[in-house]
Amino acid sequence: MSTVDVLFYLLSAFAIVSATMVLISKNPIHSVLWLILVFFAISGHYILLNAQFLAIVNIIVYAGAIMVLFLFVIMLMNIKKDAEPQKQLLVKLTGVVAAGSLLTLLIAVVKQTTQIQDKQVLLKEGSIGLIHPLGQALFTDYVIPFEISSVLFLSAMVGAVIIGKK
């Protein structure tokens, strides 16, 4: 095993454990904190793929800004343990069956997809994730989708301002 493989398995284990903890933590604040760790693990994967820009933007935007807002909201809500509604056993069972079927389906699909069999992602090489090639690609080949998404952001901002003024 090379260093990259070791790091890959470590990060994956880290991501899965943290994601599980998000689900099984009783305290919503703990869940948010575990979710932040998941984002860090995913950013680690991006770095393994040599996509440094994506990795750091993932941390700045998701772990740094959106999760702060999550924490904000949860901290301001007064959550008490005993006031939390308990779901019925039947509802829980339905959830387990539905989610389990989805998992099986996804695994089956991934297993049978021929396009990704015997193929490996570019680890540690390739420069498309670096900031220069990424900028070049965004402003030459993908300039229209890029500009359209910026218009989308602008409209979201205008919407936020209007809601905030009410």
Partner: protein
Amino acid sequence: MTILAFDWGLVIEKLILIAVVVFGSLGIALYTTFGERKVAAILQDRPGPNRAGPFGLLQPLADGIKLIMKEEIIPTAANKWLFILGPALAMTASLMTCAVIPWGSDIELFGRKIALQIADINIGILYVFAVVSMGVYGIMIGGWASNNKFSLMSSLRAASQAISYELAMGLALIALLMTTGSLSLKTIVEQQIQGNWWNIVYQPLGFLLFFIAALAECNRTPFDLPEAENELNFGYHQEYSSMKLGFYLFAEYINMIMSSAIMASMYFGGYDLPFFDESTVAPNIAAMIGVGTLLIKIVLFVFLFMWIRWTIPRFRYDQLMNLGWKTMIPLALFNLLITGALILANL
């Protein structure tokens, strides 16, 4: 074992560098607390700490011992793990920034060329942003875990302030990055050494905005609302005692040093000593001169931070938000526009 196919020399070299930088910044932070008290004393026309050692120079050590010896109190209603995690995170986040700061030009030791920078990554300045946005968690978690209304209020203030001023900071920075064309701090410093002028000449408004935002990000007066003692008792670290409190207070000083280092590197030439040709002396000596120059620039910035703290009173919370959103962000956008126009006109 192929797992261990590293260049071990590089690993050892980096570990030593990390140790030196981290303990160096801790040491400087220790004396910054002393400096703060002395500066306050001078500005208020009083002697300041002068009992421990000559000129009171042993005062920081006495303070440190006092903090460690105090009783460690974790409130019964507090969330124990998060209560401990808070100060640890604040400290870690403020120390992590030092990884991308170029402390000097390369030195040669034992036939190896050693860069005086822990990691020259091509997203350097974005890394700083990521770490800064992590720093908020230390305050938020600590304030919430204390289970105290004042602490919570203060940590929410801190978080909203940090998020608001990060925007202005980022916009001010984009204008600078448009002129440099690189995110690596090392490249930015080298461009300033080779070019005629430091970036402050090209980006005066950008620097001013960045500096104000840095004051707000470090929770320094006039933006130290999270610690507004006359409204919130003591702020987010009210329930903390002993070295956990010490970590919070210390993290603030380390943040100050790191943001000074970043401002010096981005706008004031980093380790560049003006009117001096580094190629006339041996590379090792040139590197040492560079490190000294950067340290002097950092000390000057830290002094400026302190000067402002003991001169300007605190803002009100609505004034803070108005300044951030209605003055600084439009000014930063204006700066961006002007910079873009000048680049287009090839000036």
